[in-house]
Symmetry: C2
DNA sequence: ACCCACATGTAATGTGTTACATGATTTT
DNA sequence: AAAATCATGTAACACATTACATGTGGGT
């Protein structure tokens, strides 16, 4: 039931269309949750059926009409209750680590190439998160409670991608320098 | 198809029963892949049907008979081919980050309690990984290529849990010190 | 007496992914 | 002329989770 809570949390900040939420998950808040538009549309229909969200169709002239969802009071209560429940760490399922673990099957150049590609990819994500940090939180030393709750998940994403880059680099260096 | 590759990778190191693999995923190699016994049994049956693994029933007297799976040459070839393919980062779906993001809905003590619980949980995991590190890799500065491929995923898990603990601690300190 | 470890599965449900489908406007 | 953005959905399939089911032997 966690996707539902992620959607409600985003609606808490502002009402949105399925399309708009999909983009936020994809672009700005991908450092703490990811979902596709198909998942989101399905889940939003459920949320509305359960009374946790409500929608309103807004006609548009130039563009297709849109259905804007917002959270209900019942949705807020439901979210607040969930916040009191203990959370389980997300299970780790990282393909790259499996590939490295099986690395002895192939020539080391194969693994090295993939590690370099992934290092670049994570460096790019890191740059994106840093740009968001600079734009939205130029002075992280004084944030009120409300801003902190937005800053802290971003910080986690930043730390995660920093680690990804560092690990890839260390892996490359160690594999390049290893005895055969 | 990534669970299949994780299983084949584990079988590469040594043949195993479904039960045994489930325990390895659960206990020792959980820092790079997690799976339950139901997933594993289903996937192993498929691997055998596809000719990538083979099984042999070994009768036992005291305990129930067991079915030991091993990887076939076709399975090795299949794995080796997969190692050449680019990997996508695992999507992030961390409940705790959603809970923090929605933190303004409840009293800060609710979030703080959860952050402390999670900090302890991750500290415990970190201790487990460090124990494995001490036991299996007492001197990480000289490892041959083969050992590196086992050490590097462990290192990633270690870095990840180190970060989890550090982030929880920072989050606790910042929230405790924040203006209302 | 009860729980844990060993050992393997089925069934139902829930979640996530991929492909298909439509159609206007804006940008390259 | 082609591709991207806005906007919403259906359908099929793949994968993951939870509950149920069974049975022995060893330890507390």
């Amino acid at each position: 039931m966690a996707l539902a809570h992620a959607i409600l949390t985003m609606l808490l900040e502002q009402p949105a269309t399925g399309y708009g939420l999909a983009k936020r998950f994809d672009r700005s808040v991908g450092y703490f949750w990811q979902a596709t538009h198909q998942q989101i549309y399905r889940e939003m229909a459920r949320l509305e059926a359960a009374g946790l969200a409500q929608s309103e169709v807004i006609p548009q002239e130039d563009r297709p009409d849109k259905r804007v969802y917002s959270i209900t009071q019942e949705g807020r209560d439901h979210l607040a209750e969930w916040l009191g429940e203990p959370s389980a760490p997300a299970p780790m399922r990282e393909d790259l680590l499996v590939q490295v673990r099986a690395g002895s099957l192939v020539d080391r150049t194969v693994i090295l190439e993939e590690l370099r590609r992934r290092r670049d990819l994570h460096a790019q994500r890191l740059a994106t998160y840093k740009a968001i940090q600079r734009r939205d939180f130029p002075d992280p030393s004084r944030l009120d409670a409300g801003a902190l709750f937005i800053y802290l998940p971003l910080l986690r994403g930043l730390m995660f991608e920093t680690d990804n880059v560092a690990w890839c680099e260390q892996a490359i260096a160690l594999i390049e320098g290893a005895a055969r």
